[in-house]
Point group: C2
Chain length 244, copies 2
DNA sequence: CGCTCTCTTGATAGACTTCAATGTTAGTGG
DNA sequence: CCACTAACATTGAAGTCTATCAAGAGAGCG
């Protein structure tokens, strides 16, 4: 397998979490015309009000969708992982309504809109699968509204950890019950709508309660049952083929 | 124009807020095979974990997407207005991840999935327009994450009022700067993630500050400039053809 | 008229923020 | 190898926003 193929492999994994793919479809994915670029942590790939002419496929690294208020307060509205195409929507919605910024060092494949549209037209079943992805992305946003709107801080953080665990597992980026969490507590706070200080207290509590362990940026889930329970996590909204 | 045509007219209006339609497309919309039903306020049209076999087009009335936590706390994750098809996604995502409940008396058109798929296949430009709608729906959800996650209560309520005003205006359901707001303060609280008591205080404050007036369920916007300002409202996320 | 639902208001409690300081870790260059 | 720096994590104290509880007022309805 060439390096080129390995690049798109993560999209295959991602789609297979929600639909079945034929050999032909897999090879069509490998033939996606990617222009690969690297980004440092903390860079904006796309900005609000931009009018992109290409789409992004995350090959490695984490990206945040975020919005900023007038007073500088930042809200991360979703976290995008390898295999995600965070601005597929720009094919149909000309103007970006949020920013895409790297949370880590990233490897990203750019695909011109024209090429993407041709590819989607040539592969209707894959087009449907990609649409499914945008719908799931909307579903995740709705769950996040619930998360920041109705849960208390302790449950919010627990819920995000559950979501990331399930999504990372689907793309083979977990190891037993551990995964690398490259988010600062401040970024986590921006995702769940609490201050970094309070995120810290919540994480300390989750550790004290024996739900998780944290060491060098690696989170280990010690008691998945209770973590699901305290966060009222129900993975329906991720629309995966098999439940976690 | 027949009553049948008037039913679907609201969808025409809705789509024209974001795209242009030809005469042929308009008449295709009028020919959508609707099975019309009426609902009282407070009824569930679709429930979480359902597997719908038909889509909903709202002809009249307001519908809430909502989720419920274990402790009974309810979060409205979006408000759907006439012309919206809140579960178009069920064409691609088999299982519902949220509930759809009527906020008012409603008139709803049901369209079997099979018929909807055939109609979309027959009208690619309309299919694209409908996809746009689902993308916009996702965009609105992201804005709501920002709303409940980063704004304080006063701005949250102001923001929802701005959004409803713009969306209602697009379908011709405003009168000058007034619109009917059939939401109880308790429902509003469930939408913005605060208690009904606090919603009441915020609304009193908005009235005292001269931003809005409220009488018999009709909201009048007295100072749109300041309402936009205090809520940091930017209508980009609604992706309308012309800004408000 | 009484019933119910919603709005309104006050008092108290709790969750979370902000400010501020200290501890920890990893990286850098001498 | 150590001093120095920068970023991030941790902790405390005080203050603010919002929730909860409770009770009364108003409006619509059978």
């Amino acid at each position: 397998m060439s390096a080129f193929q390995r690049n798109a492999e993560v999209l295959v994994q991602r789609l297979q979490a929600t639909v079945e793919l034929t050999d032909d479809e897999r090879s069509a994915i490998y033939r996606l015309p990617l222009h690969v670029r690297h980004f440092e942590r903390g860079q904006d790939l796309v900005r609000e009000h931009d009018r992109p002419s290409q789409c992004i496929l995350i090959l490695d690294g984490w990206i945040a969708r975020y919005k900023v208020l007038g007073d500088g307060k930042r809200q991360i509205v979703s976290i995008e992982l390898p295999g995600d195409m965070p601005d597929l929507q720009s094919l149909y919605l000309e103007v970006m309504d949020h920013n895409l910024g790297s949370l880590t060092k990233c490897v990203v494949g750019f695909i011109p809109h024209v090429a993407m549209k041709a590819w989607l037209a040539a592969h209707p079943r894959l087009a449907a699968a990609m649409w499914r992805e945008t719908l799931i992305s909307g579903s995740i946003s709705r769950e996040w509204v619930l998360n920041v709107g109705a849960r208390e801080a302790y449950a919010r953080v627990a819920h995000v950890l559950c979501e990331l665990y399930v999504r990372l597992k689907a793309i083979g980026r977990t190891e037993n019950d551990s995964f690398v969490l490259p988010l600062s507590q401040s970024a986590l706070g921006e995702a769940v709508g609490v201050s970094s200080v309070h995120v810290n207290r919540v994480i300390m509590a989750l550790r004290k309660d024996g739900l998780i362990a944290v060491a060098q940026g690696v989170v280990t889930i010690l008691d998945i049952t209770r973590l699901i329970e305290v966060s009222s996590f129900d993975d329906t909204y991720l629309h995966m083929r098999q439940a976690a």
